[in-house]
């Protein structure tokens, strides 16, 4: 049982999951060390980098002030998936998240394809965050008056800085730094603090408290189509909640903390995104915002709070994109581990290095492809492919929930159940697949290519793999 049993003189039995530990079949214990704050930090820290610091300009340029509706749609879809994911995670609090649920619920072929596409989806997401980081790094250089190197111009510098930082982050991960969680917690708290001040001021100003006129503009100047395609583009801002599930095996009190961390982080960032777009489109016409590109929010901060505001947001943008990239690298390595544990990829991939205590090969298999993708510098393409690969998994998560509820195996004992079953998973599943339909054709082609390749890999390498049944928690 995933219970809350804990106390003096109680030693957990074999195969049992308690609030603070999991006992393996071999009799060893796996300590659960991530609390609710840690879970929320993973979710918020992964998501916040994209939605506030990269997308507002691009989204407003595409959809006008209705970009806030695009973010709202994304939040609703994310919530519809976060609820089923929470139920599955409390029934199977194991490393690997979505991959683990789908492979146990839907069998080996789906498992292999989702495992591989989750890994690559996170690689695309990491590359996207690092390009965003590069944009901020260049904006900082411009702000402090460093001239861009002759000939190259800022366009060429962005991927270079992104690649350098990608290599650095991978190196730090392989070396097994301590206290990254504490650092991540501090960064997320700082970010939320900066945003609270900036958005608070922006909202008051936009509502006319300080006497300034907000810019009157048609809400959806380009119609409903761009609102939906923008929702598909910015959905990358909501990928983080499922990353909470990749560390489900290490969460304390998983029955309580997993749903709270996943749903809570979606609600928090969704609200922040919608407010951010509202503030941004009140400060500038959306065409101007679109012209500012990835760092539009810096100009918004400058218009409200002057140079100090711009500098604060620049620093926040650097921290947010790095923390998103870092969290995604770690999740991708967990996903690769879960896939290799079931032998869908060679098991040597996730071997732990005794000296550093880290899976150096798995981390290299995340960092390597990431820096290649960063080199392309294609923000929107990277974001959409990342979303594509995640949305496929989200849709399958919703189906898995329905399959498991109908099949109702003895081991399936979630301590959190989806409200509004079966409507929520059905709508969540349909919405996930529908988002894919609104992407650019090139993103769809690349995403489909990855999935077909993963299927080919399964047929070539792993066709005879069988999945172990879920360890009985009774």
């Amino acid at each position: 049982m995933v219970g809350q049993s804990q106390g003096e003189g109680q030693e957990p039995a074999l195969g049992e999951t308690t609030a603070t530990t999991t006992v393996t079949e071999e009799g060893s214990e796996l300590e659960r060390t991530i609390g609710l704050t840690g879970g929320l930090t993973i979710g918020i820290g992964t998501m916040i980098g994209a939605g506030i610091f990269v997308f507002p300009g691009l989204a407003a340029g595409n959809a006008g002030p209705a970009a806030s509706a695009s973010f709202g749609i994304g939040a609703v879809v994310a919530l519809l998936v976060a609820l089923p994911t929470s139920e599955l995670a409390t029934a199977m609090p194991k490393s690997g998240g979505g991959y683990y649920f789908i492979s146990r619920g839907m069998g080996a072929a789906f498992g292999a394809i989702v495992g591989i596409s989750l890994w690559l989806g996170l690689v695309f997401a990491t590359a996207f965050y690092l390009v965003g980081f590069g944009e901020y790094a260049v904006a900082v250089l411009i702000e402090i008056g460093v001239p861009a190197p002759a000939g190259a111009g800022p366009i060429g510098i962005v991927p270079v800085l992104g690649v350098i930082f990608g290599l650095l982050l991978t190196g730090i991960s392989v070396a097994g730094t301590e206290n990254t969680t504490k650092l991540q917690n501090a960064i997320v708290s700082l970010l939320l603090g900066i945003l609270a001040v900036f958005l608070g001021f922006g909202v008051l100003d936009a509502l006319g408290v300080f006497g300034a006129e907000s810019t009157p503009e048609t809400y959806a100047p380009f119609g409903i189509g761009p609102v939906l395609s923008t929702a598909a583009l910015v959905f990358t801002s909501y990928l983080g909640f499922a990353q909470v599930a990749t560390v489900a095996g290490e969460m304390k009190q998983p029955g309580r903390n997993l749903p709270l961390a996943m749903v809570g982080s979606v609600v928090v960032v969704g609200a922040l995104y919608v407010i951010t777009i509202f503030v941004a489109t009140s400060a500038f016409p959306s065409a101007t915002l679109g012209g500012f590109g990835e760092t539009a929010i810096v100009e918004v901060a400058r218009s409200y709070l002057g140079q100090p505001g711009a500098i604060a947001i620049l620093i926040a943008g650097l921290l947010a994109t790095v923390s998103s990239a870092n969290a995604s690298i770690l999740s991708a390595s967990r996903a690769l581990y879960a896939t290799s544990r079931d032998a869908f990829v060679p098991q040597s991939v996730s071997r732990v290095n005794l000296k550093y205590g880290t899976p150096h090969l798995a981390l290299a298999l995340v960092g390597g492809p990431t820096v290649v993708l960063v080199g392309t510098g294609q923000t929107e393409l990277l974001a959409e492919v990342a979303s594509f690969l995640h949305l496929l998994m989200y849709g399958l998560i919703c189906i898995t929930l329905i399959v498991l509820r109908r099949r109702s195996p003895a081991w399936y004992q979630p301590s959190f159940t989806v409200p509004g079953y079966p409507i929520v998973p059905i709508v969540g599943g349909i919405a996930s697949f529908a988002m894919i339909a609104f992407m650019q054709p090139l993103s769809q082609i690349i995403g489909a290519f990855v999935i077909v390749s993963a299927g080919g890999w399964y047929l070539f390498y792993a066709r005879d793999v069988t999945i172990d049944e879920v360890v009985n928690n009774e």
Binding site: E26, G35, S173, R341, R351
Partner: protein
Amino acid sequence: MSNTRVNVLVPIDVLGGETIPEPVIELLSGMDVTLLGYHVLPEQTATEQAHDQFHEKVAAELAEYEARFESHGGTVQSRSVFTHDKADTIERVAVEERTGTVLLLNPAPKIDRVLVPIRGAVNVDRLASVTAALAATAGLEIRLFHVTDEDGVEAGETLLADVRQGFVAAGVDEEQLTSEVTISEQPIEALKSAADTTDFVIMGEHEPSILDIILGEASTKVADSSLSPVLVVRTGKHKNTESE
């Protein structure tokens, strides 16, 4: 009192090359020992992942220690834990096993002299019964030790006299006991240098003072800087460390 069995938790970083010296195994043979083989992982690594790879090695190492404890007539059980946080793990297992004492390992070529620092009258009963359980198995010299400033010498001597009586009542042979009051402005430094001249330390775990929070728990500091193993006697009134 003296026949109450004392249980002790021995956390050991099995894969990190930590070892339990033979004299320590001999000394603990009269106690109920729980070996806690732990492996600390950086946050980049899933605990399951390290478990898959290392659990057999950890189990083999622990089985070897169990055999060594049993060859000295001791009672022992072992648990192995893969964790991101050593302190969380030790605290949890100590609570689950209801262990009154935790051993912080250090090399010990021989154990003849045991240092028992006394801070105040608090917790002395538990210190006495633990010391008695150890003293019964070997002819040890037990050195009661109190650090104070110049004004506190008289009070310190009275304290140690009382404590000494308590130890005798708990079953420690009077002949084994010596008492010493030391004057120093820096109690932790004085404790460390005293620990350097003895082979084993038994000390109480105290409610952390502000200084402890800044500098770390006194017992950990003694264990880190001296060459002796330190047996920490827990106060017994521990909060259950819940989720956050």
